[in-house]
Protein backbone atom coordinates (compact mmCIF):
# COMPACT_ATOMS: atom_id res chain seq x y z
CA UNK A 1 0.00 0.00 0.00
CA UNK A 2 1.30 3.39 -0.89
CA UNK A 3 1.98 5.63 2.05
CA UNK A 4 0.13 8.89 2.02
CA UNK A 5 2.21 11.89 2.86
CA UNK A 6 -0.06 14.00 4.98
CA UNK A 7 2.83 16.05 6.39
CA UNK A 8 3.14 17.62 2.95
CA UNK A 9 -0.53 18.58 3.02
CA UNK A 10 -0.02 20.17 6.44
CA UNK A 11 2.91 22.18 5.12
CA UNK A 12 0.50 24.03 2.86
CA UNK A 13 -1.39 25.52 5.82
CA UNK A 14 1.13 25.42 8.63
CA UNK A 15 4.45 27.19 8.63
CA UNK A 16 7.18 25.70 10.76
CA UNK A 17 8.46 28.49 12.96
CA UNK A 18 12.04 29.73 12.81
CA UNK A 19 12.39 28.84 16.51
CA UNK A 20 11.69 25.17 15.79
CA UNK A 21 14.20 25.16 12.94
CA UNK A 22 16.86 26.88 15.05
CA UNK A 23 16.35 24.58 18.03
CA UNK A 24 16.52 21.51 15.84
CA UNK A 25 19.78 22.70 14.35
CA UNK A 26 21.17 23.55 17.79
CA UNK A 27 20.22 20.18 19.22
CA UNK A 28 21.90 18.31 16.39
CA UNK A 29 25.09 20.32 16.94
CA UNK A 30 25.07 19.73 20.68
CA UNK A 31 24.43 16.05 20.20
CA UNK A 32 27.35 15.77 17.81
CA UNK A 33 29.58 17.70 20.21
CA UNK A 34 28.66 15.49 23.16
CA UNK A 35 29.14 12.26 21.24
CA UNK A 36 32.47 13.47 19.91
CA UNK A 37 33.58 14.63 23.34
CA UNK A 38 32.85 11.28 24.87
CA UNK A 39 34.27 9.26 21.99
CA UNK A 40 35.91 6.14 23.33
CA UNK A 41 36.08 7.48 26.86
CA UNK A 42 33.78 7.34 29.83
CA UNK A 43 33.09 10.81 31.18
CA UNK A 44 30.96 12.39 33.87
CA UNK A 45 28.80 15.47 33.51
CA UNK A 46 31.39 18.05 34.71
CA UNK A 47 34.00 16.54 32.34
CA UNK A 48 31.67 16.67 29.38
CA UNK A 49 30.58 20.20 30.25
CA UNK A 50 34.23 21.26 30.39
CA UNK A 51 35.07 19.62 27.11
CA UNK A 52 32.21 21.14 25.10
CA UNK A 53 32.22 24.41 27.01
CA UNK A 54 28.60 24.31 28.07
CA UNK A 55 27.04 24.85 31.47
CA UNK A 56 26.78 21.76 33.61
CA UNK A 57 23.03 21.98 33.91
CA UNK A 58 22.54 22.17 30.14
CA UNK A 59 24.98 19.33 29.69
CA UNK A 60 22.96 17.34 32.19
CA UNK A 61 19.77 17.95 30.23
CA UNK A 62 21.25 16.88 26.91
CA UNK A 63 23.19 13.91 28.24
CA UNK A 64 20.12 12.64 30.07
CA UNK A 65 18.05 13.10 26.92
CA UNK A 66 20.62 11.11 24.95
CA UNK A 67 20.49 8.39 27.59
CA UNK A 68 16.72 8.36 27.24
CA UNK A 69 16.99 8.13 23.46
CA UNK A 70 19.41 5.20 23.77
CA UNK A 71 22.45 7.02 22.41
CA UNK A 72 24.36 7.03 25.70
CA UNK A 73 24.39 4.85 28.75
CA UNK A 74 25.46 5.30 32.33
CA UNK A 75 28.25 3.04 33.53
CA UNK A 76 29.83 3.04 36.98
CA UNK A 77 30.04 5.71 39.59
CA UNK A 78 33.27 7.46 40.54
CA UNK A 79 35.25 6.51 43.65
CA UNK A 80 33.79 9.37 45.62
CA UNK A 81 30.24 8.14 44.90
CA UNK A 82 29.43 11.47 43.38
CA UNK A 83 29.11 11.24 39.61
CA UNK A 84 28.14 8.58 37.10
CA UNK A 85 30.22 8.08 33.99
CA UNK A 86 28.58 7.93 30.60
CA UNK A 87 29.62 6.18 27.44
CA UNK A 88 28.29 5.79 23.95
CA UNK A 89 25.79 2.99 23.64
CA UNK A 90 26.66 0.27 21.14
Amino acid sequence: MEKKETFKIKRETHTVSQRVKDELKAFNQIRRKILEAIGEEELNIPDIADKIDMSKEETMYYVMSLVKFNKLQATAMDDMDEYYFYKIKE
Binding site: F7, H14, S17, F27, Y83
Partner: protein, 435 residues
Protein backbone atom coordinates in the same frame (compact mmCIF):
# COMPACT_ATOMS: atom_id res chain seq x y z
CA UNK B 1 -19.76 26.05 12.56
CA UNK B 2 -18.46 23.04 10.76
CA UNK B 3 -17.30 19.90 12.47
CA UNK B 4 -19.79 19.91 15.29
CA UNK B 5 -21.30 16.68 16.50
CA UNK B 6 -24.12 16.40 18.98
CA UNK B 7 -24.09 13.80 21.72
CA UNK B 8 -25.94 13.24 24.96
CA UNK B 9 -24.96 11.66 28.27
CA UNK B 10 -26.29 11.41 31.80
CA UNK B 11 -23.20 13.01 33.29
CA UNK B 12 -20.26 15.05 32.13
CA UNK B 13 -17.16 14.58 34.26
CA UNK B 14 -14.59 17.33 33.69
CA UNK B 15 -11.06 16.19 34.54
CA UNK B 16 -9.50 12.76 34.24
CA UNK B 17 -7.41 12.70 37.40
CA UNK B 18 -8.15 10.25 40.16
CA UNK B 19 -11.21 12.26 41.30
CA UNK B 20 -12.75 12.32 37.83
CA UNK B 21 -11.96 8.68 37.20
CA UNK B 22 -13.44 7.57 40.53
CA UNK B 23 -16.57 9.67 39.94
CA UNK B 24 -17.01 8.36 36.40
CA UNK B 25 -16.75 4.73 37.56
CA UNK B 26 -19.25 5.25 40.37
CA UNK B 27 -21.80 6.91 38.13
CA UNK B 28 -21.31 4.44 35.28
CA UNK B 29 -21.66 1.46 37.65
CA UNK B 30 -25.22 2.58 38.20
CA UNK B 31 -26.12 2.13 34.57
CA UNK B 32 -25.72 5.79 33.65
CA UNK B 33 -23.83 7.09 30.63
CA UNK B 34 -20.80 9.23 31.40
CA UNK B 35 -18.56 11.43 29.28
CA UNK B 36 -15.15 11.92 30.87
CA UNK B 37 -13.24 14.86 29.39
CA UNK B 38 -9.52 15.39 30.01
CA UNK B 39 -7.54 18.28 28.59
CA UNK B 40 -4.21 16.45 28.74
CA UNK B 41 -3.12 13.65 26.39
CA UNK B 42 -3.61 11.04 29.10
CA UNK B 43 -5.88 10.46 32.05
CA UNK B 44 -4.43 9.79 35.48
CA UNK B 45 -3.84 13.38 36.52
CA UNK B 46 -1.16 14.10 39.07
CA UNK B 47 -1.52 10.81 40.88
CA UNK B 48 -0.18 8.70 38.04
CA UNK B 49 2.97 10.85 38.09
CA UNK B 50 3.74 10.19 41.74
CA UNK B 51 6.28 7.76 43.12
CA UNK B 52 4.76 6.09 46.13
CA UNK B 53 1.95 7.25 48.34
CA UNK B 54 1.80 7.92 52.08
CA UNK B 55 1.42 6.38 54.58
CA UNK B 56 1.41 2.88 53.09
CA UNK B 57 4.20 3.42 50.52
CA UNK B 58 2.14 1.68 47.86
CA UNK B 59 3.40 2.45 44.41
CA UNK B 60 1.14 5.20 43.14
CA UNK B 61 0.95 3.87 39.60
CA UNK B 62 -0.11 0.48 40.97
CA UNK B 63 -3.12 2.05 42.65
CA UNK B 64 -3.99 4.42 39.84
CA UNK B 65 -3.75 2.03 36.94
CA UNK B 66 -6.47 -0.44 37.97
CA UNK B 67 -8.90 2.44 38.31
CA UNK B 68 -7.79 3.76 34.96
CA UNK B 69 -8.24 0.44 33.20
CA UNK B 70 -11.62 0.02 34.85
CA UNK B 71 -12.83 3.38 33.58
CA UNK B 72 -11.22 2.85 30.20
CA UNK B 73 -13.11 -0.30 29.38
CA UNK B 74 -16.32 0.58 31.16
CA UNK B 75 -19.15 0.18 28.66
CA UNK B 76 -20.94 3.23 30.10
CA UNK B 77 -17.99 5.61 29.97
CA UNK B 78 -16.78 7.57 26.94
CA UNK B 79 -13.36 9.12 27.47
CA UNK B 80 -12.08 12.07 25.45
CA UNK B 81 -8.50 13.12 26.08
CA UNK B 82 -6.75 16.17 24.63
CA UNK B 83 -10.16 17.78 24.87
CA UNK B 84 -11.16 21.10 26.37
CA UNK B 85 -14.47 22.10 27.82
CA UNK B 86 -15.30 25.50 26.36
CA UNK B 87 -18.72 26.25 27.84
CA UNK B 88 -21.25 24.60 30.06
CA UNK B 89 -24.63 26.29 30.06
CA UNK B 90 -27.49 25.31 32.27
CA UNK B 91 -30.59 25.11 30.08
CA UNK B 92 -33.34 24.51 32.59
CA UNK B 93 -33.91 22.61 35.77
CA UNK B 94 -32.35 19.38 34.66
CA UNK B 95 -30.08 19.68 31.73
CA UNK B 96 -26.94 21.33 30.51
CA UNK B 97 -25.47 22.06 27.10
CA UNK B 98 -21.70 21.87 26.82
CA UNK B 99 -19.32 22.88 24.05
CA UNK B 100 -16.16 20.88 23.94
CA UNK B 101 -13.17 20.94 21.64
CA UNK B 102 -11.16 17.84 20.85
CA UNK B 103 -7.75 19.01 19.75
CA UNK B 104 -6.08 17.32 16.82
CA UNK B 105 -3.60 14.69 17.91
CA UNK B 106 -2.43 14.04 14.34
CA UNK B 107 -2.53 10.35 15.17
CA UNK B 108 -5.35 7.96 14.46
CA UNK B 109 -5.83 6.70 18.02
CA UNK B 110 -7.67 3.55 17.03
CA UNK B 111 -4.77 2.31 14.94
CA UNK B 112 -1.79 3.39 17.02
CA UNK B 113 -0.17 0.44 18.76
CA UNK B 114 2.17 2.52 20.88
CA UNK B 115 5.23 1.00 19.21
CA UNK B 116 7.17 4.27 19.53
CA UNK B 117 8.82 3.98 16.10
CA UNK B 118 7.60 7.50 15.30
CA UNK B 119 9.30 8.66 18.47
CA UNK B 120 12.60 7.09 17.40
CA UNK B 121 12.31 8.66 13.98
CA UNK B 122 11.43 12.18 15.11
CA UNK B 123 14.46 14.52 15.07
CA UNK B 124 12.99 17.26 17.24
CA UNK B 125 13.83 17.41 20.95
CA UNK B 126 12.01 19.67 23.39
CA UNK B 127 11.77 19.59 27.20
CA UNK B 128 9.48 16.81 28.39
CA UNK B 129 6.62 18.39 30.33
CA UNK B 130 5.85 15.09 32.07
CA UNK B 131 9.40 15.12 33.48
CA UNK B 132 9.18 18.82 34.36
CA UNK B 133 11.78 19.63 31.72
CA UNK B 134 14.51 17.50 33.30
CA UNK B 135 15.00 15.59 30.05
CA UNK B 136 13.88 16.04 26.49
CA UNK B 137 11.19 14.35 24.49
CA UNK B 138 10.40 14.18 20.79
CA UNK B 139 7.75 16.16 18.94
CA UNK B 140 6.14 12.81 18.10
CA UNK B 141 5.71 11.13 21.46
CA UNK B 142 3.84 9.02 23.94
CA UNK B 143 3.48 10.94 27.22
CA UNK B 144 4.91 8.12 29.37
CA UNK B 145 4.83 4.36 29.58
CA UNK B 146 1.70 3.96 31.63
CA UNK B 147 -0.25 6.73 29.89
CA UNK B 148 -3.85 5.99 29.01
CA UNK B 149 -4.48 5.89 26.12
CA UNK B 150 -0.92 4.77 25.46
CA UNK B 151 -0.80 6.21 21.97
CA UNK B 152 1.37 8.71 20.17
CA UNK B 153 0.65 12.35 19.58
CA UNK B 154 2.29 15.04 17.50
CA UNK B 155 3.25 18.29 19.23
CA UNK B 156 2.44 20.45 16.23
CA UNK B 157 3.89 23.61 17.77
CA UNK B 158 7.32 21.98 17.80
CA UNK B 159 6.98 19.76 14.74
CA UNK B 160 9.31 20.40 11.82
CA UNK B 161 6.94 18.63 9.41
CA UNK B 162 9.80 16.50 8.17
CA UNK B 163 7.54 13.50 7.72
CA UNK B 164 9.93 11.05 9.37
CA UNK B 165 7.26 9.83 11.77
CA UNK B 166 4.79 9.23 9.02
CA UNK B 167 7.32 7.22 7.08
CA UNK B 168 8.27 5.19 10.15
CA UNK B 169 4.76 4.36 11.31
CA UNK B 170 3.96 0.72 10.55
CA UNK B 171 0.21 1.16 10.87
CA UNK B 172 -0.01 4.43 8.96
CA UNK B 173 -1.81 6.10 11.79
CA UNK B 174 -0.03 9.47 11.58
CA UNK B 175 -2.44 11.88 10.00
CA UNK B 176 -1.52 15.56 9.63
CA UNK B 177 -4.87 16.31 8.02
CA UNK B 178 -6.62 16.02 11.39
CA UNK B 179 -8.23 19.18 12.68
CA UNK B 180 -9.64 20.32 15.98
CA UNK B 181 -13.18 19.12 16.36
CA UNK B 182 -16.02 20.68 18.31
CA UNK B 183 -18.91 18.87 19.89
CA UNK B 184 -22.15 19.97 21.45
CA UNK B 185 -22.96 17.76 24.41
CA UNK B 186 -26.24 17.54 26.28
CA UNK B 187 -26.03 16.19 29.83
CA UNK B 188 -28.21 15.94 32.92
CA UNK B 189 -25.51 16.70 35.45
CA UNK B 190 -21.88 17.77 35.70
CA UNK B 191 -19.04 16.70 37.99
CA UNK B 192 -16.11 19.10 38.14
CA UNK B 193 -12.87 17.32 38.96
CA UNK B 194 -10.33 19.74 37.55
CA UNK B 195 -7.93 19.33 40.44
CA UNK B 196 -5.38 21.82 41.66
CA UNK B 197 -2.32 23.65 40.43
CA UNK B 198 1.07 23.57 42.08
CA UNK B 199 2.36 26.78 43.57
CA UNK B 200 4.88 28.49 41.29
CA UNK B 201 8.04 28.97 43.39
CA UNK B 202 9.28 31.74 41.08
CA UNK B 203 6.93 33.91 43.12
CA UNK B 204 9.35 33.64 46.05
CA UNK B 205 12.62 34.98 44.56
CA UNK B 206 14.58 34.57 47.82
CA UNK B 207 14.33 30.79 47.40
CA UNK B 208 16.32 31.12 44.15
CA UNK B 209 14.20 28.60 42.27
CA UNK B 210 15.00 28.90 38.57
CA UNK B 211 18.36 30.55 39.12
CA UNK B 212 19.91 28.00 41.49
CA UNK B 213 19.82 24.80 39.51
CA UNK B 214 19.80 22.45 42.46
CA UNK B 215 16.69 23.96 43.99
CA UNK B 216 13.83 21.83 42.75
CA UNK B 217 10.14 21.42 43.52
CA UNK B 218 8.66 18.50 45.34
CA UNK B 219 6.88 17.41 42.16
CA UNK B 220 10.24 17.27 40.42
CA UNK B 221 11.54 15.11 43.28
CA UNK B 222 8.43 12.97 42.93
CA UNK B 223 9.52 12.30 39.33
CA UNK B 224 13.07 11.48 40.47
CA UNK B 225 11.64 8.79 42.72
CA UNK B 226 8.94 7.40 40.40
CA UNK B 227 9.37 4.22 38.38
CA UNK B 228 8.96 6.27 35.19
CA UNK B 229 11.70 8.65 36.35
CA UNK B 230 13.87 10.83 34.15
CA UNK B 231 17.39 9.87 35.31
CA UNK B 232 17.12 6.35 36.66
CA UNK B 233 18.82 7.63 39.82
CA UNK B 234 18.32 10.57 42.11
CA UNK B 235 20.78 13.10 40.66
CA UNK B 236 21.16 16.84 40.91
CA UNK B 237 19.77 18.48 37.79
CA UNK B 238 22.56 21.07 38.02
CA UNK B 239 25.47 18.73 37.37
CA UNK B 240 24.44 15.09 37.76
CA UNK B 241 25.97 14.69 41.19
CA UNK B 242 24.35 12.21 43.52
CA UNK B 243 23.09 14.36 46.41
CA UNK B 244 23.97 13.42 49.95
CA UNK B 245 22.58 16.28 51.96
CA UNK B 246 19.05 17.17 50.98
CA UNK B 247 16.81 19.82 52.50
CA UNK B 248 13.04 20.18 52.36
CA UNK B 249 11.41 23.58 52.65
CA UNK B 250 7.84 23.05 53.83
CA UNK B 251 5.03 25.56 53.33
CA UNK B 252 6.50 26.90 50.08
CA UNK B 253 3.60 29.05 48.94
CA UNK B 254 1.30 27.88 51.72
CA UNK B 255 0.42 29.67 54.97
CA UNK B 256 2.18 32.64 53.43
CA UNK B 257 0.40 35.98 53.24
CA UNK B 258 3.29 37.48 51.26
CA UNK B 259 2.24 35.40 48.28
CA UNK B 260 -1.44 35.88 49.02
CA UNK B 261 -2.11 32.33 50.14
CA UNK B 262 -3.01 32.11 53.83
CA UNK B 263 -4.19 28.49 53.81
CA UNK B 264 -2.39 25.23 54.48
CA UNK B 265 -2.09 22.86 51.54
CA UNK B 266 -2.84 19.81 53.65
CA UNK B 267 -0.61 17.40 51.69
CA UNK B 268 2.93 18.83 51.71
CA UNK B 269 4.01 17.68 55.18
CA UNK B 270 3.10 14.12 54.40
CA UNK B 271 4.45 13.91 50.86
CA UNK B 272 7.69 15.47 52.05
CA UNK B 273 8.01 12.92 54.86
CA UNK B 274 7.24 10.19 52.35
CA UNK B 275 9.88 11.46 49.90
CA UNK B 276 12.38 11.74 52.72
CA UNK B 277 11.73 8.10 53.63
CA UNK B 278 12.11 7.05 50.00
CA UNK B 279 15.34 9.04 49.72
CA UNK B 280 16.72 7.26 52.76
CA UNK B 281 16.08 4.06 50.85
CA UNK B 282 17.48 5.28 47.52
CA UNK B 283 20.49 7.08 49.00
CA UNK B 284 21.36 5.26 52.22
CA UNK B 285 24.28 7.58 52.97
CA UNK B 286 22.33 10.80 52.52
CA UNK B 287 21.23 13.22 55.23
CA UNK B 288 17.72 14.55 54.86
CA UNK B 289 16.56 17.63 56.73
CA UNK B 290 12.99 18.86 56.79
CA UNK B 291 12.47 22.53 57.70
CA UNK B 292 8.93 22.99 58.96
CA UNK B 293 6.62 25.32 60.81
CA UNK B 294 4.20 22.65 62.07
CA UNK B 295 4.08 19.04 60.96
CA UNK B 296 0.52 18.24 60.01
CA UNK B 297 0.32 14.48 60.05
CA UNK B 298 -3.37 14.35 60.86
CA UNK B 299 -4.82 11.48 58.81
CA UNK B 300 -5.18 7.79 59.44
CA UNK B 301 -1.74 6.33 60.06
CA UNK B 302 -0.03 9.68 59.36
CA UNK B 303 1.29 10.47 62.82
CA UNK B 304 2.74 6.96 63.03
CA UNK B 305 4.38 7.55 59.63
CA UNK B 306 5.90 10.79 60.91
CA UNK B 307 7.23 9.03 64.00
CA UNK B 308 8.65 6.31 61.75
CA UNK B 309 10.49 8.97 59.72
CA UNK B 310 12.01 10.42 62.88
CA UNK B 311 13.06 6.91 63.85
CA UNK B 312 14.78 6.49 60.49
CA UNK B 313 16.99 9.45 61.26
CA UNK B 314 15.36 12.12 59.16
CA UNK B 315 16.23 15.44 60.70
CA UNK B 316 13.23 17.65 61.49
CA UNK B 317 14.06 21.29 62.13
CA UNK B 318 11.43 23.71 63.26
CA UNK B 319 12.49 26.75 61.37
CA UNK B 320 11.50 29.43 58.94
CA UNK B 321 13.60 29.77 55.80
CA UNK B 322 14.83 33.24 55.08
CA UNK B 323 17.00 32.91 52.03
CA UNK B 324 18.53 30.26 49.80
CA UNK B 325 21.70 31.13 47.86
CA UNK B 326 23.61 29.12 45.34
CA UNK B 327 27.30 28.53 46.00
CA UNK B 328 29.90 28.14 43.31
CA UNK B 329 29.90 24.33 43.33
CA UNK B 330 26.13 24.26 42.98
CA UNK B 331 25.50 23.64 46.70
CA UNK B 332 23.00 25.78 48.53
CA UNK B 333 23.39 28.01 51.54
CA UNK B 334 20.17 28.01 53.54
CA UNK B 335 19.56 30.76 56.05
CA UNK B 336 16.81 30.10 58.55
CA UNK B 337 15.43 31.03 61.90
CA UNK B 338 15.82 28.02 64.16
CA UNK B 339 12.80 28.17 66.46
CA UNK B 340 14.27 25.76 69.00
CA UNK B 341 17.43 27.80 69.37
CA UNK B 342 15.68 31.07 68.83
CA UNK B 343 18.31 32.41 66.46
CA UNK B 344 19.30 32.77 62.83
CA UNK B 345 21.35 29.87 61.52
CA UNK B 346 23.04 28.95 58.27
CA UNK B 347 23.32 25.50 56.83
CA UNK B 348 24.61 23.94 53.62
CA UNK B 349 22.86 21.39 51.45
CA UNK B 350 23.59 20.00 48.02
CA UNK B 351 19.96 19.74 46.96
CA UNK B 352 16.97 21.74 48.16
CA UNK B 353 13.42 20.59 47.58
CA UNK B 354 10.66 23.17 47.81
CA UNK B 355 7.49 21.53 49.08
CA UNK B 356 5.13 23.55 46.95
CA UNK B 357 1.52 24.02 47.93
CA UNK B 358 -1.76 23.22 46.24
CA UNK B 359 -3.39 26.21 44.57
CA UNK B 360 -6.84 26.56 43.07
CA UNK B 361 -7.26 25.67 39.43
CA UNK B 362 -9.60 28.37 38.15
CA UNK B 363 -10.41 26.68 34.84
CA UNK B 364 -14.06 26.00 35.72
CA UNK B 365 -14.69 29.73 36.04
CA UNK B 366 -14.20 30.17 32.32
CA UNK B 367 -16.58 27.31 31.50
CA UNK B 368 -19.70 28.68 33.13
CA UNK B 369 -21.72 31.81 32.51
CA UNK B 370 -20.40 34.78 34.41
CA UNK B 371 -21.41 34.93 38.06
CA UNK B 372 -23.00 31.52 38.16
CA UNK B 373 -19.79 29.70 39.14
CA UNK B 374 -18.83 30.99 42.56
CA UNK B 375 -15.44 30.68 44.22
CA UNK B 376 -14.39 30.94 47.82
CA UNK B 377 -11.88 33.54 48.97
CA UNK B 378 -9.02 31.28 47.91
CA UNK B 379 -10.39 30.79 44.38
CA UNK B 380 -11.39 27.17 45.04
CA UNK B 381 -14.91 26.20 44.08
CA UNK B 382 -17.52 27.43 46.50
CA UNK B 383 -19.34 24.72 48.43
CA UNK B 384 -22.85 26.04 48.59
CA UNK B 385 -24.03 23.90 51.50
CA UNK B 386 -20.84 22.88 53.26
CA UNK B 387 -22.13 20.35 55.77
CA UNK B 388 -25.32 19.08 54.24
CA UNK B 389 -24.09 18.52 50.68
CA UNK B 390 -20.35 19.26 50.58
CA UNK B 391 -20.08 18.35 46.93
CA UNK B 392 -22.69 20.81 45.71
CA UNK B 393 -21.28 23.78 43.77
CA UNK B 394 -22.93 27.15 43.38
CA UNK B 395 -24.88 25.71 40.44
CA UNK B 396 -27.58 23.13 41.06
CA UNK B 397 -26.69 19.91 39.28
CA UNK B 398 -22.96 20.69 39.19
CA UNK B 399 -21.00 18.68 41.76
CA UNK B 400 -17.45 18.99 43.03
CA UNK B 401 -15.04 16.08 43.30
CA UNK B 402 -11.60 16.18 44.87
CA UNK B 403 -9.35 19.21 45.10
CA UNK B 404 -11.67 21.43 43.06
CA UNK B 405 -13.08 22.59 46.40
CA UNK B 406 -9.82 22.76 48.35
CA UNK B 407 -6.58 20.95 49.02
CA UNK B 408 -6.93 17.32 50.09
CA UNK B 409 -4.98 14.09 50.01
CA UNK B 410 -5.80 11.00 47.95
CA UNK B 411 -8.02 9.18 50.49
CA UNK B 412 -10.07 12.34 51.01
CA UNK B 413 -10.21 12.87 47.26
CA UNK B 414 -11.62 9.38 46.77
CA UNK B 415 -14.24 9.97 49.48
CA UNK B 416 -15.14 13.36 48.07
CA UNK B 417 -15.51 11.80 44.63
CA UNK B 418 -17.76 9.11 46.09
CA UNK B 419 -19.90 11.85 47.58
CA UNK B 420 -20.01 13.88 44.35
CA UNK B 421 -20.99 10.86 42.30
CA UNK B 422 -23.68 9.77 44.78
CA UNK B 423 -25.19 13.25 44.60
CA UNK B 424 -24.93 13.30 40.82
CA UNK B 425 -26.66 9.92 40.52
CA UNK B 426 -29.46 11.06 42.81
CA UNK B 427 -29.81 14.26 40.79
CA UNK B 428 -29.90 12.38 37.50
CA UNK B 429 -32.43 9.86 38.80
CA UNK B 430 -34.69 12.69 39.91
CA UNK B 431 -34.47 14.37 36.51
CA UNK B 432 -37.75 13.78 34.82
CA UNK B 433 -36.88 15.25 31.42
CA UNK B 434 -35.67 12.96 28.71
CA UNK B 435 -32.84 14.44 26.74
Amino acid sequence: MPNIEKKSFDALVVGGGIAGVESAINIANNGLKVLLVEKDLTIGGKMIMLSKVFPTLDCSACITTPKISEVDRHPNVTIMTNTEVLHIDKQDKHYFKAQIKEKARYVDVSNCTGCQLCEDACPVVVPDQYQYGMVGRKAAYIPFNIASPRVASIDIENCSLCGACEKACPTQCIDFTQEDKEYEIVVKSVVIATGFNLFDPLKIPRYSYGSAKNVITSMEMERHLAPTRPYNHVLRPGDGKMPDNIAYVLCTGSRDMTVGNPICSQICCMYSIKQAQLLMGALPMADVTIYYINIRSFGKGFEEFYEQAKGMGINFVKGKIGQIDELENGDLKVRYEDINQGKLVESKHDLVVLSVGAMANEDPKTMFKADTWKQDEFAFAQQKDLFYTPSLSSIDGVFLAGTTSGPMDIPDTILSSGAASMEAIRYIKQAKVEI
